[in-house]
C-alpha cells in the first residue's frame, strides 16, 4: 500500500501549479507565497519518502494504461537522492522568487511548479514510457522559465532550448522504441536489459540515448543552448536550470549506463571510454570558455558546462568510487551553483550590475551575499573541507580504482587525474579575480552611478546607486543564499552524511 505514496512528490507540484494559476485573480503575491509553500510540501514529501525508503518500504506503483507497458513509477536510492537534492533547491529558489520576480509572477510560479513536476517525474520513472512523458513536460515547462523576460534574446534562447530539447527527446523516443522492439523491455531501474549485450546495434542505441540526455545535460558537443539559455532566465530559474535541471540529463545518462545497458556492455572503447573522454573534454572546455566571459551569469553558465563534465565523468569511469564522486557532485554543484546564481541575482536585483568589471568592491555593499558567494566559489575551486573538494577527490580516487580494476589503462587514469587537477586550476583563474575584485577592489564612480541599464530592475538599481551604501536585500532573498552557501561548507565538513546516502546509490550497481 505504501507504493502509491511514490506519486506524492509528483502530485503536489501539479496541484500547486493549478492552485497558483487560479490565484492569479486574487493576488499574484499570494501566489508566490503559495508556490513556496507547495515547494516546501514537496520537499517534506521527499524527506518522508526517503525515511520510508530507508525503513524498507517498496516504493513502486504502476498504472495500467491499456498499452503493452505500464505508466510505472519506482524509487531507488538514486531516485531518492535526486528527489531530495532537487526539491531542496527548488524550495529555496521559490522562497527567493517571492521577492525576486516582479513581472508575470503567476506564469513564472506555475511553470516553476510544473518544471518540478516534470523533474520529479523523470527521477521517479521506472521505465522509458514514464520518463518520456515527464521529459516532455519538463522541456516545455522549463523553456517557459527561460523566456520569462520576453525580450527578443530571451525568446530566441527559449526557442533554441525548446527545439534542441525536442530533437533530444526524438532521439530518446526512437531509441526506446527500437530497444523495446528488439528486447521487449523498456525498464530503467534494472541492471541492464538482457538482450542488448550482444546486439549489433547496441553502440548506436547507446549513443542515441546518451545524445538525447546529453542535450539536456549540456555535454559537449551539444551544449550550445546552455550558455544562451541559462543566463537569460531570471536568476532563481538560472539557479534551478544550472543547479538541478541539467542533472536530469546526467541522471538519464547514469540510468542509461548502469540501468539500461549495464556496466559490462558499456565497458568498451566505443562507448564508455569515449563518453568518459567527452566528459573530460567538457570539463576543460567549459572552464576555458568561462575564462573568456565578461558577464557574471554567462560565466556561471559556462562553469556549469564544466561541472556537468565532472558528474558524467563519475558516471562513465565505471568504478564505484568514481560514481560516488559524480553523484556527490550532483549535490555539491546544486549547492554551489545555486548559491552563485542566486547571489548573482541579488547583485542584479539590488544594484543592476551584470558585468564582471563592475563588481569592484561589491562586497562592501553586499557583505552577506558575497560571503555566501565566496564560500561557493571556493568550494567550486575545490579547496578542502568544502564539498567541492570531496567530489573531485572521489573522482580522482575512482580513476585510480578503475585503473586497478583494469577498466582504464594507467596513462588514461593519470590523464583523468591530471585533468581534474587542471580543471581545478582553471576554476581558480576565473573565480579568484571575481573574489579579489569584490572584496578588495575600491568602489569606483562607475559602480556607484552607471548601469541603470536595459535590464528590468532599473528602478532598483537607481535606488541602490543613490544609497551607495549597504544594499543587502530582505531575508527572504538572503536566507536561501546563506543556507546554500554555508551548506557547501557544512556538508563538506560532515561529508559522511550525504556520503551515506550516496553509498546506497553506489550499492545498487556495484
Amino acid at each position: 500500500m505504501e507504493g502509491i505514496l511514490v506519486l506524492l512528490p509528483i502530485i503536489i507540484p501539479l496541484v500547486g501549479a493549478a492552485v497558483v494559476a487560479l490565484l492569479k485573480r486574487v493576488s499574484e503575491k499570494i501566489g508566490s507565497v503559495v508556490t513556496a509553500v507547495f515547494s516546501g510540501l514537496t520537499l517534506a514529501a521527499a524527506i518522508w519518502l526517503a525515511s520510508l525508503f530507508y525503513g524498507g518500504a517498496d516504493l513502486s506503483y504502476s498504472f495500467d494504461v491499456g498499452l503493452p507497458f505500464d505508466l510505472a513509477f519506482g524509487l531507488d536510492a538514486l531516485g531518492i537522492f535526486m528527489g531530495l537534492v532537487s526539491t531542496g533547491l527548488w524550495f529555496l529558489a521559490s522562497v527567493y522568487s517571492i521577492e525576486y520576480i516582479h513581472e508575470r509572477r503567476t506564469m513564472f510560479n506555475s511553470f516553476l511548479l510544473l518544471s518540478l513536476y516534470g523533474m520529479l517525474g523523470i527521477t521517479t520513472a521506472a521505465n522509458f514510457y514514464t520518463l518520456l512523458f515527464f521529459f516532455e513536460v519538463f522541456s516545455v515547462a522549463s523553456a517557459v522559465l527561460v523566456i520569462h523576460e520576453m525580450t527578443p534574446e530571451a525568446n530566441r534562447a527559449g526557442f533554441q532550448y525548446l527545439i534542441i530539447s525536442v530533437v533530444g527527446s526524438a532521439a530518446v523516443i526512437f531509441t526506446a522504441a527500437a530497444i523495446y522492439a528488439e528486447t521487449g523491455s523498456i525498464d530503467l531501474l534494472g541492471q541492464g536489459i538482457p538482450g542488448l549485450a550482444d546486439h549489433p546495434l547496441t553502440p548506436l542505441f547507446f549513443w542515441l540515448l546518451i545524445g538525447g540526455f546529453a542535450i539536456k545535460a549540456g555535454l559537449f558537443p551539444v551544449h550550445m543552448w546552455l550558455p544562451v539559455a541559462h543566463p537569460i532566465a531570471p536568476s532563481s530559474a538560472s539557479a534551478l536550470l544550472s543547479g538541478v535541471m541539467i542533472k536530469a540529463g546526467a541522471y538519464g545518462i547514469i540510468r542509461v549506463i548502469y540501468g539500461v545497458f549495464g556496466m559490462s556492455v558499456v565497458n568498451t572503447p566505443a562507448m564508455g571510454t569515449l563518453l568518459m573522454w567527452l566528459a573530460v573534454f567538457t570539463m576543460i572546455f567549459g572552464s576555458i570558455l568561462a575564462i573568456a566571459q565578461t558577464e557574471l551569469k554567462r560565466l556561471l553558465a559556462y562553469s556549469s558546462i564544466a561541472q556537468i563534465g565532472y558528474v558524467i565523468l563519475g558516471a562513465s569511469m565505471l568504478s564505484g568510487v568514481g560514481l560516488s564522486g559524480g553523484v556527490l557532485h550532483i549535490l555539491g554543484h546544486a549547492l554551489m551553483k545555486g548559491t552563485l546564481f542566486l547571489a548573482a541575482g541579488i547583485i542584479i536585483h539590488q544594484t543592476g550590475l551584470r558585468n564582471l568589471s563592475d563588481l569592484e568592491g561589491i562586497a562592501k555593499r553586499l557583505p552577506l551575499t558575497m560571503t555566501a558567494f565566496t564560500l561557493a566559489a571556493v568550494s567550486m575551486i575545490g579547496i578542502p573541507p568544502f564539498i567541492g573538494f570531496f567530489s573531485k577527490w572521489y573522482l580522482a580516487l575512482g580513476a585510480l580504482q578503475a585503473k586497478d580494476a583494469g577498466i582504464m589503462s594507467q596513462w588514461a587514469a593519470y590523464g583523468v587525474v591530471g585533468a581534474i587537477i587542471f580543471s581545478g586550476l582553471l576554476n581558480i583563474v576565473y573565480y579568484a579575480p571575481i573574489l579579489i575584485r569584490a572584496w578588495f577592489g575600491g568602489p569606483s564612480a562607475e559602480t556607484a552611478h552607471g548601469h541603470e541599464d536595459s535590464h528590468g530592475h532599473g528602478e532598483a538599481s537607481g535606488k541602490a546607486a543613490e544609497a551607495a551604501g549597504r544594499a543587502e536585500p530582505s531575508w527572504l532573498m538572503l536566507a536561501p543564499v546563506m543556507v546554500l552557501g554555508f551548506g557547501t561548507l557544512l556538508l563538506g565538513l560532515y561529508v559522511r552524511v550525504p556520503y551515506q546516502l550516496i553509498s546506497d546509490v553506489v550499492k545498487i550497481y556495484f
Binding site: P68, F159, Q160, I163, I164, V167, A170, A178, Y180, A181, E182, G184, L201, M224, W225
Partner: protein, 484 residues
C-alpha cells in the same frame, strides 16, 4: 505482451539517416550558421546524397519490414532515388533564389524539403494504408508551409490558404475511403486486403472506398476535377517550390496509388480503370486548353502539369506491366524536363527587372542563347517529341494503352500533345522571334546553369539512348508481375 515485428534497420536506413541529418541541419541553422543560405543548402544536398548512398545496397533487394508495412523492392528504391535526386536539384537552385528574395529562415526551408522527401520515400515504399497516409501527410504539411514561403505576399498567402483547406478536405476524403476499405476487409495491409477481397463480389462499400481514395490522390496529383488549386499555388509559391510541387509529391502520389490499386485491388480493375479513363481525358483536355491563353509562364506550366497528370493516368487506365514501365519512364522524364523548364523561368526572373510573364521571355535567344536553347529542349520534351526523354515516356504509355485495346485513348493523348505543341511553341516564338526590351545579357548564377546542364543532358541522353532508362523501368515494373 504485444507481438513485436522484427525491424530490419538496413531497410529503413535511408529514411532514418535522412531524418537524422535533417535534424542536424535544423540544429546547425539554430546555433552555428544562422541564415547561412549556402552552407545550409550544401549541407542539405550532402544529406540527400548520403541517404542515396545508404540506399544503394538496397538495389535489387526484395523484402519487407515493420510487419510488412514497409517494402523494399526495385519499385521503392527506384522512387527513393528519384525523390532524392529531384530534391537535391531543387535545393541547389533554391540557394540563389533565397538569397535574391531575402527570404527568412533558410534553414527551415531546407529542413521542410528534407522532411517532405522522407514522407515521399515512405509513400513509395509502404504497403500499408496507414503508413501511406502518414507519409502523405508529412509531405503535404511540409508542402503547405513551403508553398506559402513568401510570407508577406498577400497573393501567396491566399493561394496557400486555398491549398491548405482543399488539401485537408482531400486528405479527409481519402481517409474516409480508407475507412470503408478497412471496414469491409478488416485489413490495412495491401496484400491482406487483396486476399480478403479474393473471390468476393464487388461490394458497394469497397467501390466507394476505392473511389474516395482515388479522389484524394487525384487532388494530390492535380488532376481534373480536383485541380482548381494548382494555378494559384504554382504562381504564388516560390519558383523552386513550384518546380518541386509539380514533380516530386506528384510522383510520390502516383507511386502510392500504383501500390494501392495494383496490390490491393487488382480484382477491381474493371471499376477503377473507368475512373482513370475519365480523369485522364478530362485532365489532358482541360490542362492543355487552359494553358493556351495563359500570359504568366508559371501559370502556363501549372496547367501543363495538369495535362501531364492526365497523360500519366492513361498508364493507370491501361494497367499492365508495360504501362507501369511507362509510368516510371514518364515520371523520370517529367522530373528532368519540368525542373529544367522551371529553372529557366527562375533564371529569367532572377535578373533585375526580370519577371515571370511570357513577355519577359521576348528575345531571350539574344540575351542568353544558352537559356533559350535549353528551354527549347525542355519544351520539345514536354510536348513529347524525339529525340528527348519525353517522347519515350509518352510512347510507352500510349503503346500500353493500345495493347489493352484503348487505342482511342492513345489517340486522344496524341491529339493533346498536338494541342500542347501550340502553347509550347508560343514560348519558343517569344524567345526567338520577338525583340527584347533590353539587349542586356542575362547572367545566370552557376547553380542554375549547373542544374540546367544536368537536366538538358539527361533529357537528351535518355532521348538518344533510351535503354539506360527503359531497361531499368522494365525491370522495376516486373515487381507488379502478373498484371493483365
Amino acid at each position: 505482451m504485444l507481438a513485436l515485428p522484427k525491424v530490419n534497420y538496413a531497410f529503413l536506413a535511408p529514411e532514418l539517416l535522412l531524418i537524422f541529418l535533417a535534424l542536424m541541419v535544423l540544429i546547425a541553422d539554430l546555433f552555428w550558421w544562422r541564415g547561412r543560405t549556402r552552407v545550409l543548402g550544401w549541407l542539405s544536398v550532402a544529406s540527400l546524397i548520403a541517404a542515396g548512398v545508404v540506399a544503394l545496397p538496397l538495389v535489387g533487394k526484395t523484402g519487407s519490414t515493420l510487419a510488412n508495412a514497409l517494402l523494399v523492392d526495385p519499385f521503392a528504391v527506384f522512387f527513393k532515388m528519384v525523390f532524392l535526386a529531384s530534391t537535391a536539384l531543387i535545393i541547389v537552385v533554391s540557394m540563389d533564389y533565397l538569397a535574391r528574395y531575402k527570404l527568412p529562415s533558410s534553414g527551415e526551408y531546407y529542413v521542410l524539403l528534407l522532411f517532405a522527401t522522407v514522407g515521399m520515400m515512405f509513400m513509395a515504399a509502404s504497403s500499408d494504408l496507414i503508413m501511406i497516409y502518414v507519409g502523405l501527410e508529412l509531405t503535404s504539411i511540409s508542402s503547405y508551409i513551403l508553398a506559402g514561403y513568401h510570407k508577406t505576399d498577400a497573393r501567396s498567402n491566399e493561394s496557400v490558404l486555398k491549398y491548405f483547406i482543399l488539401g485537408l478536405i482531400a486528405s479527409g476524403i481519402m481517409l474516409y475511403g480508407f475507412t470503408f476499405i478497412y471496414g469491409f476487409t478488416g485489413q490495412t495491409e495491401l496484400g491482406a486486403i487483396a486476399n480478403a477481397l479474393r473471390g468476393e463480389s464487388a461490394s458497394l462499400a469497397v467501390i466507394v472506398g476505392v473511389m474516395f481514395a482515388i479522389a484524394g490522390f487525384a487532388f494530390k496529383v492535380a488532376s481534373v476535377p480536383f485541380h482548381q488549386w494548382v494555378p494559384d499555388v504554382y504562381e504564388g509559391a516560390p519558383t523552386p517550390i513550384t518546380a518541386f510541387l509539380s514533380v516530386a509529391p506528384k510522383a510520390a502520389a502516383f507511386a502510392a496509388l500504383a501500390r494501392i490499386l495494383f496490390l490491393a485491388f487488382p480484382d477491381f480493375a474493371g471499376y477503377w480503370k473507368m475512373i482513370f479513363i475519365l480523369l485522364a481525358i478530362a485532365s489532358m483536355f482541360i490542362g492543355n486548353l487552359m494553358a493556351i491563353p495563359q500570359k504568366n509562364i508559371k501559370r502556363m506550366l501549372a496547367y501543363s502539369s495538369i495535362a501531364h497528370a492526365g497523360y500519366i493516368m492513361v498508364a493507370f487506365a491501361a494497367a499492365n506491366e508495360r504501362a507501369i514501365a511507362g509510368l516510371l519512364i514518364y515520371i523520370v522524364a517529367y522530373v528532368l524536363m519540368n525542373i529544367g523548364a522551371f529553372v529557366v523561368v527562375l533564371a529569367v526572373a532572377h535578373q533585375r527587372g526580370g519577371g515571370e510573364e511570357l513577355t519577359d521571355f521576348n528575345g531571350l535567344s539574344k540575351r542568353s542563347p544558352f537559356l533559350a536553347l535549353s528551354m527549347v529542349v525542355f519544351l520539345v520534351a514536354l510536348t513529347g517529341l524525339p529525340p528527348t526523354a519525353g517522347f519515350w515516356g509518352k510512347l510507352w504509355i500510349f503503346l500500353a494503352a493500345v495493347d489493352k485495346g484503348l487505342w482511342w485513348l492513345a489517340l486522344i493523348g496524341f491529339l493533346n500533345s498536338v494541342i500542347s505543341l501550340y502553347y509550347y511553341v508560343n514560348v519558343i516564338r517569344h524567345m526567338y522571334l520577338f525583340e527584347p526590351d533590353t539587349e542586356e545579357a542575362l547572367s545566370t548564377p552557376a547553380t542554375f546553369s549547373g542544374v540546367i546542364w544536368i537536366t538538358v543532358l539527361a533529357t537528351l541522353l535518355i532521348g538518344v539512348y533510351p535503354p539506360i532508362l527503359t531497361d531499368v523501368a522494365e525491370t522495376v515494373a516486373r515487381v507488379f508481375g502478373g498484371l493483365g
